[in-house]
């Protein structure tokens, strides 16, 4: 049996699919998009999040830390248990499929009766595919949704999507060079998976983050529209304009937010480019 590294289970997530849903956040992502708003979901290891604002310098965390001088933090979580202010939180817990499923299914009847369900997000759920493949059958017949970059081997992608009722497929940049420059990975596997997804007729929603001066060019939006057009099970395209605030959790994760673009610049959503190709498109 495989284990999954999960960094949060959150109820009543409103934008992760139809109805009332609980979202499972998978820890770890192969991409490094500079606008990522979930930096605690990037690393594939448990880590300590520190929010120092309310620290009262009681010293409890230092007293309990087993670390030798110079030794790096192993995210053992000892300090998170003794901080009275809750400044320290261990992010990422290894979960077993049956135990996680039992927690999620406490709302099973309500999900089934009211058109809600469970969503997988992250991080990148596909990066923990074996775990996901064990988890999904345990959750059926509850409606399942997955938010994904689509960065995975085709076979993996296919096997997982078979279990998923609604895929939120990201499309960050149509240009391979730009995609590699921005996210650190090639978009070929993503586009290949997207092509299969369209062909399969599987229900999906395409999501395109519009990052000012980065992905919101007319050219990129047009090329994305081209990639998405044609017969498929796509319900709509969602354009997600960048909002200030993406960087708010970096400090807590011990990272520095360096977006490398002008956060304050206006984005230029072009739903018309999608609509011209007969695609339903909304700006979120």
């Amino acid at each position: 049996m495989s284990r999954g590294l999960i960094f949060e289970v959150r109820e009543f997530c409103l934008h992760d699919g139809p109805g009332i849903r609980t979202t499972v956040f998978f820890k770890g992502c192969p991409l490094r998009c500079p606008w990522c708003h979930n930096p605690e979901g990037l690393s594939f290891a448990p880590q300590l999040l520190i929010a120092p604002q309310s620290c009262v310098h009681c010293g409890a965390c230092k007293r309990v830390c087993p670390r030798q001088p110079g030794e790096p933090c192993r995210a053992c979580g000892a300090c998170s248990k003794v901080c009275p202010q809750g400044c320290r939180r261990l992010c990422g817990v290894w979960r077993e499929p049956a135990e996680l499923a039992a927690e999620l299914l406490r709302d099973r009847d309500f999900f089934l009766n009211n058109g809600g369900g469970i969503s997988f997000s992250g991080g990148e759920p596909l990066a923990q595919a074996e775990f996901l493949l064990e988890l999904c059958p345990l959750l059926k017949p509850v409606h399942l949704a997955m938010e994904t970059s689509g960065y995975a081997p085709l076979a993996t992608y296919q096997r997982v999507v078979e279990h998923i009722d609604l895929v939120f497929q990201d499309l960050k940049h149509a240009d391979p060079t730009e995609h590699r420059r921005l996210t650190g990975v090639d978009n070929a596997p993503i586009l290949r998976n997207l092509a299969w997804l369209k062909e399969s007729g599987h229900a999906f929603i395409a999501r395109i983050p519009l990052i000012p001066g980065v992905t919101d060019s007319e050219d990129n939006q047009r090329r994305c529209a081209d990639l998405l057009s044609g017969p498929s099970g796509m319900l709509r395209v969602e354009l997600l304009p960048y909002h200030l605030g993406a960087g708010s959790k970096y400090a807590m994760a011990g990272l520095k937010y360096q977006p490398g673009f002008d956060e304050h610049a206006a984005v230029q959503p072009r739903p018309d480019l999608f609509q011209d190709r007969g695609l339903k498109c909304v700006v979120m």
Binding site: V9, R10, E11, F12, C13, L14, H15, G19, I20, T22, H37, N38, A51, Q53, S54, C58, G59, A60, R63, V64, S80, K81, V82, C83, P84, Q85, G86, R106, D107, F110, N114, G116, L240, Y242, H243, L244, G245, A246, G247, S248, K249, A251, M252, M284
Partner: protein, 688 residues
Amino acid sequence: MNERIATQRDGLLAFSHHHLRRDVKWNLAQNFASRKLQPMERAAEGLANMLAAEKPAFLADERIAYIRTVKQIPDLYTEEEMTALRAKAYYHEKGVVFNFSPDFGSTIKAGLLARKQEIQARMKRATDDNDQEGQEFLASALCGINAVLDLADRYRQAAVAAGRDELAKLLARVPAYGASTFHEALQFLRILHYTLWCEGEYHVGIGRFDQYIYPYLKADLDAGRISKDEAYDLLAEFFLSFNRDSDLYVGVQQGDNGQTLMLGGCTRDGQDAYNLLTSMCLEVCCELKLIDPKINLRITPRTPLSVLELATQLTKQGLGFPQYSNDDVVIPALVKFGYELEDARDYSVAACWEFIIPGCGMDIPNIGAFSMPRMVDTVMRSSKAKTFDDFMADVRQQTRAEADKLEASLSNVDMLPGPFASVLCTGRIDTARDVSRGNKYNNFGVHGTGLATAADSLMAIKQLVFTQKRLTLTELAAAVDNNFNGQPELLAATRYDVPKMGNDNDEVDALGTALLDAFADAWAGRRNCRGGIWRAGTGSAMYYIWHANELPASPDGRLKGHPFPANYAPSLNVRVKGPMSVVKSFTKEHLQRVCNGGPLTLEIHDSAFREADGIRKVAQLVQFFAQQGGHQLQLNAVNRDRLKEAQKHPEAYRNLIVRVWGWSGYFIELDKEYQDHVIQRVEMSMGS
């Protein structure tokens, strides 16, 4: 909202009617004292004087008249007299009839002249029977009616003089005669509600407005006398009027005026009571965006989602209502409390959330409050228990002891008369007794404050003292007294290592259930001094601050000076998984036993309401609440003020979730600049 209503609303918010008001230095109390007037006479003369001092005034384009022009309502007793009265009996709050809901509908239907005839006929009998008290009451009631009719006639004459023909015609009919149209019914209700304030009553609930007013609307629509648009227009003006004088109700926070209005539910014979007026009320409140009247909506697990979506549109306005109550829980609970089924089906709420029956109820549903955390604190200091089970037995015993104490302090409760209020209450003319002497239901309600703090504290005691044996009760009490100073590890354990209510954790939730069961058991079978029973409840009113200040820190890791959660909700320092878990934690209890009233309170960031999709999801959450068997629910769209508070006191707002982009985060974990950003956005969205 049409232009006429928009203009009236603007005028109201700009206080443009305040120039009509004048100060009156009353000396009635001294006058009454020197004449040694009896309470009944004082009530009658007080109202007559107040109404005589009022001068008819109209606003431009107004179609429903009556405005307060005298700022002060006269005191009827000198301070010394009140002190003397209070030495002889317990008078709750101001001592008058309050926190109730009359039967407006019957009088609106019959007219005051018909009421007068009833009183005169009854007076004959009282005279024949040589019933002194009855005669005094009936004379005072008559005096009140005459004063109301007199002011109405002066209003009518003023309307004639001002060329306000429509109002003049209206006032020629009501309140003397029964209303024959929707417009007349609204004008009548305005006069009655206004008069009760003038008699000195307060926290007067409007009751089941959509039930007793709907027949007039329906008849008008069926006969083609009124268009739907005109009906909306009149309803909006009527609702505006509740906000016109409310700033004069001094002594309480602005807005805490008990002008509650109950919608929906079922009829006295159990049929679905939702009607056109129900939805019109929700819609009009959505447009007006004013804090009065305070809307309550009765629902069941079967209430259509479309109704809940309409109600959610109102929640979105950030006013903190509608407040929901679940008929499937409340009605059986009231029957268990001893209310007749037909009356139970007719329930409304008092000033906040206490369930009362309009017309025939003279309950005092907020007569006292129990501090649940204080009980736990007391037992922590006194118990010699060796096991947690024994400790809980001590908790139950302490609960009974506290009930004994409260009961003893409330063994002689009296109320000052309200003869005009009595005219509007069921059967008071027939019995020839003022409603202050009692009505069909005379129950007392006791709030249970800080349940979650108490249950979480019990869980800490169970785990740290009895299971882990990390410290003794005495050591825990010392740590609490010392505000956990110098023991950060212990404080962290109490806060984060011990399960809390609100996360659907059966072990701690069972302790909440046990506490409420003990609370209900402690009151079961007791009779109060007015012939009623004692009802336990889950509300807190303002006690969540007061009771918290009486205590040092608590075993759940709450520090000295921090409040309890309001009403029935998770502790403020608990991070919960989400609203579903909160609902589940707070619906496991035997709520039918503690149904005095007191809502589960949930905060949802107002960004959740922006899209149609979000409205539907919040509505589904309400449905989930009803399906889980919750009794009462208050949903808040979180606003800027709360966010500002959260910045200042992050420890108290751990659950505040905000939507920052395509994602949600815990507000207090955001850096300040991002918090500020969210606040700015909220400021913008609120104005839109």
